[in-house]
């Protein structure tokens, strides 16, 4: 090393230190200083690019980044720094190219080979990753690389971008490769797993059996659940039901295995018999085995007794037993009725027995309804109540009977409340479920009567239960739903916060407060609480894109092949999460209520929404978490408590994306060719079948019946409005939009102004004259707005008058916020025609007048709505409203809860209603001001 390079190295150290400690500013300063001395040093440039990107100075970083890439770096430090830069920019494809070229220059550098391989892995380039791994295996002779090449071929086969016809060929390739392995795959459980999964895929069962039947194979499956899972599948695919049953029986009888899968295997084998005499015989044999085990296990394990129920149930289905397994269910209840899971264990059997005569079962359960004196006895009563409720028939569910049940549940709750008095405050109370049962029945009563007083009672009970059982998260989940239905978003948010939702739970549970959150947004008033909540909830998607790839790489390094497809699937499920994009949609809807609509906003949002639109979404939302104790014949608690009774699923998202993409596209100057040139970073991979799809513009024009079915009637009106609006204005936008060359030239100018460097890779064609372009055609003649546009706000006024008299606060908010949204869409659509030069040049004078009138009419309606909302809000801001709220709740129950407690809740609800109505009302005026 020369003296000067040693000196340079010493000087560079502090840059790394600064980067490590997050002092990006000082890293930049040091880089700049050293760059004066060593202006061509690539490592310094790479480090500076990294410091810049970490300080969010993307544009400046880009310039350096491109310079470094052009130099085709091979130096370790440069490559590593650039890896981070490019990852930060989402430019996986550039990273791949960089490593490819470096590796090409030093093909014997194994470490570099791995880095290159991983760059392809991160970009999901399975085909080229496969080729690199194959090459590395040849060069470095490490068996690991052979297995890498195998799994990459499999991953390529399973990739959405691979045409179906290619898939079998790839699996066969993987199979040929794995057979060349000098060592057998069973030397590691994960190689063995990979090998088996391939054989299963190809249906090569003989070969799989050979592996599985070997001693090593057996011993791997005995200790490795993943391999055993595969073995089970492979046996099943071969129809080896009997063998599986025998194997499982041994495990149960000799190894004391109590995995339910083993019991199921025995049961499946038992019923794998056509001849009815033989079947009877085999059922009896199995019953004998399970009866012995059940006797042996006693209260220690419930599996064998449950297995007996399952056997009898199936025997009944096959016609060899007269009745459903009711007496066994009763025996089970006697033994395990004091375990919380008893209800869930028996539910499926109650369900299949429904329709039969259940009177014996029901009277058995009713005989259990004594006043319990111990916690286990209480649990038993709760199970009995849940099971009775679950089995109710439609005729037994009336308003009157439900209210009777509410009293039954609540009374028992208060009578047994002392049983849990001595538990530590961190424990759940044993009677919590009674309150949840009462809440279920009250929600059902609300559905039957439409009277929200039942919801108020439910709130009183649930809130009370939380004072006794402060960690009862199930109560909070229901409360969140109820407060939203009642138009009181503040307490809903408080309970949500108390759940302490973290990390990946943001994906599965943020729907609780963020679905249709724009209904409750006060962003127009500058209160960004919900909007911020959206951003925070979406942090998890950033972590996913930054971290999960690292662990995929780690799994490759540690050769945990069983995990790699799982990690990839996990990454993909988060990346393409329905909740992620629904939150994005809500965030945009809120954003436009407090930010002016300009071309930056329009272009950025448009690009993002277009990405989202072509995603194949995954729904990871957790609705199973709700304590659903509704009768089997009823809707679930989740369905009953959806805001506006409408789910916010794929079709909902798709409908809103269509509205916004179409309108933003019209308002934007970016057409596809311009966007292609200006966009940095990678694009989503297209699915193999997408080639045959219609163009985006065609796909966003029509709404499917399924989409429309998930919209509220108000949202449907918005769709109709937006469709007519963009249909009407489309031709004028298309005519007036500047040609791509002009847009590009402008973008180049802006970039240069900002960064001092010209826009890379873009040749701006010369523009003649003053930047205006000549049109060959005449401008389209201006016609009046279609009826559905012109009369939209009149319709809103009418509907608002109707909901005004109902007592539903959310319905009022819904009409009001969607009216506001329709106005914002109109503003967005007409931005282009605000410029007088555009109007003049295109002879759009009549259009401009037309739009102005439309806006004025819309504003008039909005102002009236605003006034009304404020007035309505005021009506909640007084003692009478609170009193009305108190009076509305059930007196039988309020007898148990102090008046002050109920009054306090009433105040909380009224306050929140007042704030939201007043806020949205005043906000509307601000939205008008913002957009005019």
């Amino acid at each position: 090393m020369s003296a000067s390079s040693a000196a340079l190295e010493r000087q560079i150290r502090p840059i790394y230190d600064a980067l490590d400690t997050g002092s990006n500013k000082s890293a930049i300063v040091t880089c700049n200083k050293l760059l004066k001395k060593y202006p061509t040093n690539i490592l310094l440039k790479a480090l500076k690019a990294l410091a810049l990107i970490r300080s969010q100075k993307v544009e400046e970083s880009l310039v350096l980044c491109d310079e470094v890439l052009e130099s085709k770096p091979t130096h370790d430090g440069v490559l590593t720094a650039m890896m981070h830069v490019l990852r930060g920019l989402g430019r996986h494809n550039d990273m791949v190219t960089m490593f490819d070229e470096a590796f090409k220059k030093s093909p014997s550098n194994e470490e570099l080979g791995c880095q290159t391989f991983f760059a392809h892995v991160r970009a999901s380039h399975w085909k080229s990753a496969h080729l690199i791994a194959t090459r590395m295996y040849k060069t470095f002779q490490d068996e690991k690389y052979l297995y890498w090449s195998v799994i990459c071929a499999i991953l390529q086969a399973n990739d959405i971008s691979t045409p179906p016809a290619m898939r079998p060929i790839l699996f066969q390739l993987a199979h040929r490769l794995i057979q060349t392995s000098p060592n057998p795959s069973y030397i590691s459980a994960d190689r063995f797993h990979l090998h088996l999964s391939l054989l299963r895929q190809l249906g090569l069962y003989d070969e799989a059996n050979k592996l599985l039947d070997s001693d090593v194979g057996k011993s791997i499956c005995a200790t490795n659940l993943s391999c055993d899972e595969l073995r089970r599948e492979i046996w099943q695919l071969q129809g080896k039901v009997k063998e599986e049953g025998q194997r499982a029986e041994l495990l149960i009888t000799e190894k004391r295995d109590r995995n339910w899968l083993e019991f199921l295997a025995v049961i499946n084998a038992t019923f794998n018999e056509e001849d009815s005499d033989l079947l009877k015989e085999s059922v009896q044999k199995t019953q004998k085995i399970f009866t012995d085990i059940a006797a042996q296990d006693g209260l220690k394990d419930r599996s064998a007794l449950l297995a007996l129920i399952e056997v009898e149930q199936r025997a009944h289905e096959r016609g060899i037993s007269q009745s459903p397994p009711v007496s066994l269910m009763e025996e089970y209840f006697e033994k395990f009725g004091n375990k919380a899971c008893c209800f869930e264990d028996l539910k499926p059997y109650v369900k299949s027995a429904l329709g039969n005569d259940l009177s014996h079962w029901t009277s058995f359960l009713e005989s259990k309804l004594t006043v319990p004196e111990t916690i286990p006895a209480l649990q038993e009563v709760i199970n009995a109540l849940k099971l009775i409720r679950y089995g109710l028939t439609a005729s037994e569910i009336t308003l009157e009977s439900e209210l009777k049940r509410v009293n039954q549940y609540a009374k028992l709750y208060f009578e047994t409340i002392s049983l849990g008095a001595n538990l530590p405050s961190t424990e759940l109370q044993p009677g919590d479920d009674l309150v949840l049962l009462a809440a279920n029945a009250l929600i059902s009563a609300w559905k039957l009567s439409q009277s929200t007083s039942h919801l108020l009672t439910a709130i009183n009970l649930l809130e009370f239960a939380l004072t006794k059982s402060k960690h009862c998260f199930l109560a909070r989940l229901v409360l969140i739903r109820l407060y939203r239905i009642l138009g009181a978003p503040l307490p809903a948010l408080e309970h949500y916060r108390a759940l302490n939702i973290k990390q990946v739970q943001n994906d599965t549970l943020s729907h609780l407060v963020l679905s249709r959150a724009s209904t409750f947004s006060l962003a127009s008033m500058g209160d960004l609480t919900l909007s911020t909540e959206c951003l925070e909830a979406t942090q998890i998607y950033l972590s996913n894109s930054q971290e999960t790839g690292d662990f995929i790489v780690r799994a490759f390094n540690a050769e945990k092949y069983s995990q790699i497809p799982e990690f990839i699937a996990f990454e993909d499920r988060l990346d393409t999460s329905l909740q992620r994009d629904s939150v994005k949609m809500e965030h945009l809807r809120m954003r436009l209520t407090h930010e002016p609509v300009n071309s930056d906003v329009i272009d950025m949002e448009l690009i993002e929404l277009k990405f989202i639109f072509d995603r194949v979404h995954h729904d990871n939302r957790d609705f199973a978490i709700f304590p659903n104790y509704q009768p089997n014949v009823s809707d679930s608690l989740n369905h009953q408590t959806l805001l506006f009774g409408k789910e916010e699923g794929f079709p909902w998202l798709s409908a809103f994306l269509k509205i916004y993409i179409r309108i933003l596209q019209q308002a934007s100057d970016l057409d596809d060719t311009v966007e292609e040139k200006l966009l940095i970073g990678d694009r989503p991979k297209p699915a193999a079948e997408s080639v045959t799809r219609a163009s985006l513009s065609e796909r966003i024009q029509n709404f499917t019946p399924e989409e429309l079915s998930t919209l509220t009637s108000e949202e449907t009106k918005l769709v109709e409005y937006a469709t007519s609006l963009s249909g009407w204005l489309g031709p004028y936008h298309d005519y007036a939009r500047p040609p791509p060359s002009v847009v590009l030239a402008e973008a180049a100018k802006q970039t240069e102004l900002k960064t001092g460097h010209p826009l890379k890779g873009i040749e701006v064609p010369p523009i003649n004259g003053n930047g205006q372009h000549k049109k060959d055609e005449e401008p389209p003649a201006v016609v009046d707005a279609p009826e559905s546009v012109a009369k939209h706000f009149d319709g809103i006024r009418e509907r608002f008058e109707t909901v005004k008299t109902s007592d539903s606060v959310v319905d009022l908010l819904h009409v009001a916020t969607l009216a506001q949204e329709a106005f914002i869409l109109l503003v967005t659509e007409s931005t282009r025609f605000k410029s007088s030069s555009v109007v003049k040049m295109n002879k759009f004078g009549a259009l401009a007048t037309n739009l102005k009138d439309l806006k004025a009419a819309a504003q008039a309606v909005l102002k009236d709505i605003s006034t009304e909302l404020i007035k309505r809000g005021e009506s909640f801001n007084n003692a009478e409203a609170r009193k009305a709220c108190v009076d509305a709740s059930n007196t039988d129950i309020s007898a148990y809860i102090s008046h002050d407690f109920i009054l306090n809740l009433a105040k909380k609800i009224s306050d929140s209603r007042y704030k939201i109505l007043e806020g949205v009302g005043k906000g509307i005026v601000r939205v008008i001001a913002l957009h005019t």
Binding site: A189, D190, T223, N224, L225, S226, E229, R258, N259, W260, L261, F263, K300, D301, R302, S303, L306, K339, A340, C341, E344, D345, P348, T426, L428, H471, F473, L499, K502, Q503, V504, Q505, D507, T508, L509, I540, S543, N544, E547, T548, D550, F551, R554, A555, A558, K560, S562, Q563, E566, F567, A569, F570, R573, L574, N620, D622, A624, I625
Partner: protein
């Protein structure tokens, strides 16, 4: 009726009924993925036939020489599924794998000194206190339970590879170390 099966990355979408309980922490996705990317065979869960998760265990193998052992990082069962021997079964699997696959000398775990339910359970399974670690759960501050809230017991159970039971000692509760001394 519970199915014992491997913990998979996508189970993170399903563990709310377990993790909303206050005794169970929800970590960043990297935490779960780092365990799965190295010791997938030491991570398993119990699932009800209807697909609901009931509980899970996450473990790892670490240490050198005769300290090479299996470690229980997290063990949790959803409140509604407790006292069904689910924890016992998951621990049994973890011990089996620590013994047969990793050839460890023992299995160990940390438990809050105040968590008497868990301590009793582990003792019933053959674990004993090896040492008390000061302020292992420091973040909580001293609560009602005093030092027991923030100190941890390091509990161990010897495996077949340690026939002379050298990895444990009788007076572990009296051996006190600070949190810096343990990994």
């Amino acid at each position: 009726m519970s199915i014992l099966r491997p913990f998979k990355a996508s189970d993170m979408f399903k563990f709310n009924n377990i993790n909303l309980d206050i005794w169970t922490e929800t970590y960043g996705i990297g935490f779960y993925l780092s365990y799965l990317s190295r010791w997938p065979d030491l991570c398993c869960l119990q699932e009800a036939p209807n697909g609901r998760l009931m509980g899970y265990v996450l473990g790892k193998a670490e240490g050198s020489g005769t300290e090479w052992h299996g470690h229980v990082t997290a063990l949790t069962v959803a409140p509604e599924y407790r006292r069904l021997s689910l924890a016992r079964k998951m621990m049994a699997l973890l011990e089996l794998v620590s013994e047969e696959i990793y050839k460890g000398f023992f299995v160990d775990l940390y438990v809050r000194c105040a968590n008497s339910v868990a301590i009793g359970m582990y003792e019933g399974m053959g674990y004993s206190v090896y040492r008390r670690v000061r302020e292992y759960y420091g973040s909580l501050g001293i609560g009602k339970g005093g030092r027991d809230e923030e100190d941890a017991f390091d509990m161990r159970k010897p495996l077949a590879r340690d026939p002379h039971r050298r990895s444990i000692r009788p007076n572990g509760r009296d051996i006190i170390v600070s949190a810096h001394d343990v990994s």
